[in-house]
């Protein structure tokens, strides 16, 4: 084998490996991405009998935890996620994230059951006063969140100021 032939076969080997890796990658991507929808989108899709919101289909839904909707049995948590045009009822078993509160944003990951209740396998509550996930921006306007964050900060400040 000449030097050039060696180099060529090396390059071919490398390309073959890269191609294999790319193939696995694309296959893995399809099975492991989860889409995000707002409650309104979910209702619309359900009306169209869209398969993506069928029972068992994995997805994420986000919005605000509707004030007054939260109840708990300790390990089981029940609440409604709203974008002020539509609601989705969510059930979650486990320990709630520290930031979870009524009137706060939350993204739930899981799937619906036959009764149109969303069983969440994980919850992500808004992580930082200043951080708004891109999906949230899809659900609420930007000014809303800027104002809302400021509102939260003021609440903390006011409470502290109110203490002796």
């Amino acid at each position: 084998m000449t030097r050039a032939q060696q180099r060529l076969s090396f390059i071919l080997l490398v390309l073959a490996c890269l191609g294999l890796a790319a193939g696995i990658s694309l296959y893995a991507l399809r099975g492991n991405v989860s889409y995000y929808y707002t409650p309104t989108e979910i209702h619309k899709m359900r009306a169209r009998k869209d398969k993506r919101v069928d029972a068992g289909a994995e997805l994420r839904v986000g919005g605000m935890v509707r004030k007054g909707s939260y109840t708990t049995s300790g390990t089981g948590h029940y609440f409604a996620v709203t974008d002020f045009k539509a609601d989705v009822r969510v059930e979650y078993t486990g320990i709630l994230p520290d930031l979870f509160r009524e009137g706060q944003g939350v993204v739930a990951h899981g799937s619906f059951d036959d009764r149109k209740i969303f069983y969440a396998t994980s919850l992500v509550a808004k992580h930082d006063e200043k951080y708004t996930p891109p999906e949230m921006k899809k659900t609420f306007s930007k000014e809303y969140y800027q104002g809302y964050d400021a509102m939260e900060r003021a609440a903390e400040e006011a409470e502290r100021a109110g203490q002796p």
Binding site: F84, K137, S141, E143, Y144, G147, A154, A155, E157
Partner: protein, 177 residues
């Protein structure tokens, strides 16, 4: 051959940068958040005066004519930006009422002194109860109420001069009829 291979990284990067730029451009579309109150009577308004020696807010304040109710706070940085617009509205003869959300009297006084006072009356909503009644979810927000006390429009976020001249002035004209 070598030259072609050397161009590949640049080509890949150019595609990627293009994708990133497209993704960025898509970030610019805020959804509109309607208020459940549109078309309904404004909630009752009973708030103590935020400024010493002036009036507070009472339900009558909303039925005297067209009013704009502006929810603001002295700690709200965005609110500073809309003061010129509110001053313009006052000059144009709109009655602007203020609800100071979770604030203190000294801070409000200082702030209005510094940035101008467009309000005929300012009520102090110390605990945020009124805000909950009005469905306020952010600061600042401005409600436009017609002469019968019906909520006609809710503007979320700072009122820019463009918002006022392009959208709200025509709305106010319509409301006067």
């Amino acid at each position: 051959m070598a030259h072609k291979a050397a161009l590949m990284p640049l080509a890949c990067f150019a595609v990627l940068a293009g994708v990133f730029a497209m993704a960025l451009l898509r970030e610019h579309n805020p959804a509109i958040l309607p208020s459940a109150l549109i078309g309904k009577p404004a909630p009752a308004l009973e708030l103590p005066a935020a400024l010493k020696g002036s009036k507070g807010l009472t339900p009558e304040a909303l039925t005297g004519g067209i009013t704009a109710v502006n929810i603001f706070a002295s700690w709200c940085v965005t609110c500073v930006g809309e003061q010129p617009t509110l001053m313009q509205m006052k000059k144009d003869g709109v009655t602007v009422l203020g609800i100071a959300y979770k604030d203190s009297r000294e801070n409000i006084a200082l702030w209005l002194q510094k940035h101008g006072n467009p309000f005929s009356a300012v009520g102090l909503d110390e605990k945020g109860r009124a805000a909950i009644d009005w469905g306020v979810y952010g600061v600042p927000e401005t409600y436009f109420i017609d002469a019968e006390g019906i909520v006609r429009h809710k503007h979320i976020g700072a009122l820019s001069m463009q918002d006022y001249t392009a959208k709200l002035k025509p709305l106010l004209e319509e409301m006067r009829k």
